[in-house]
Amino acid sequence: MIDIELIEECRGGNFNNFRKLVELTSPLAYSVAFRMLGNEDQAKDIVQETMVTIWQKLNKIKSAEGYKSWIYKIVVNKCYDEMRKRKRIPEFVTDELAWKLISNKISEGPSAALEDNETSMVIALLTDKLSPKQKAVFILSDLEEMSNDGISEITGLSKSTIKANLYHARKSISEKIEKYL
């Protein structure tokens, strides 16, 4: 649980307290970064950079809630940068293998879960036609289960834009599922 007291203690320059904050914050940041980028190493780099940015701007944090949305904001922006860089290096995704995997997992029932590498493969497969914004909105809304207000605060998009992006993302994913599954 991240509380404002811990953040205030970190402001004093205490590394042990900040270590605690990193410990609590990293899983949140990593989850979004990994789902956005689908790469473990890159997601870890994003988490590190995010925590360094937080350390540099600790004085700006006013509340624990604000801190949480601020982390997501930094992570999403850093992921956008990474995705932009990546445009030049297209990745090869084995579609058939991914669809087969999804089919198998669904048939296993509700207890089935994916490994991290499988998750990245499935997300990449489902979202490869989406723009970075659509992908971010889909991940934050449907996978991280955030409200439209929260997404608006993180992405800086208006609620109507979020709804439109989410609609297009869901439609594109649904069409793929319908076609291949």
């Binding site: 320059g13 590394f15 900040f18 270590r19 990193v22 410990e23 990293s26 899983p27 990593y30 989850s31 990994f34 789902r35 997601a43 870890k44 988490v47 590190q48 925590m51 360094v52 350390w55 540099q56 999804i102 997992k105 669904i106 509700p110 089935a112 879960a113 994916l114 490994e115 991290d116 499988e118 998750t119 990245s120 499935v122 997300i123 489902l126 449907d142 996978l143 289960e145 869901r170 994913i173 649904s174 599922i177 319908e178 599954l181």
Partner: protein, 181 residues
């Protein structure tokens, strides 16, 4: 459509359930602490230099004195601006006066020319005189020369009483002849 949604929900459920887990959070913590310690060191150096150069501005009475001094400077500046504007205004009026003087001098010359022209014009029918500027100047010069010679003549007559008497006598005779006529 229902089936399509069902498939979509199942895939989404699978992805939600497969939350990526950060396995090496300790590595990230260590790396982050290492990075912020390096940043902290260079930041501290900068802060020390900054404090040495500008730290005195944070002293209460110095700050108040600076505020008073800045207000005084603004007032002095405004006063000086007002004086400068007033002087500019005065000087601009002066220029107009000197311009008038110039114009007057020029106008005198012109007036003189016109008088000469008018006198000369009596001898010619109207609208039949064409005279160049050069000719006009020559005419003026000759008028001036004539005036000087007239003054010399007057002086000469004044200085010689016999000559004066003789001239007066001659003039009276001339007048009688004109009256007789």
């Amino acid at each position: 459509m229902l089936q399509e949604n069902e498939k979509y929900d199942k895939v989404l459920y699978l992805l939600k359930k497969s939350k990526p887990l950060l396995d090496s959070s300790e590595n990230i913590e260590n790396e982050v602490i290492k990075r912020i310690k390096n940043i902290g060191h260079s930041d501290r150096m900068l802060n020390e230099v900054f404090d040495f150069l500008f730290g005195w501005i944070y002293i209460g009475w110095v700050r108040r004195c600076l505020i008073v001094a800045s207000i005084a400077l603004v007032l002095v500046f405004a006063y000086q601006q007002a004086i400068i504007l007033r002087r500019i205004d005065y000087l601009s009026r002066q220029t107009i006066i000197s311009g008038k003087e110039n114009t007057n001098t020029h106008a005198d010359e012109m007036e003189k020319m016109l008088v000469v022209l008018r006198n000369a014009g009596r001898r010619f029918p109207s609208n039949s005189i064409t005279i160049s500027e050069k000719q006009m100047k020559e005419l003026l010069e000759s008028v001036n020369e004539l005036q000087l010679k007239y003054k010399d003549l007057e002086n000469m007559i004044e200085s010689d009483p016999e000559l004066k008497k003789m001239i007066q006598k001659k003039l009276m005779e001339n007048n009688r002849i004109k009256i007789n006529l």
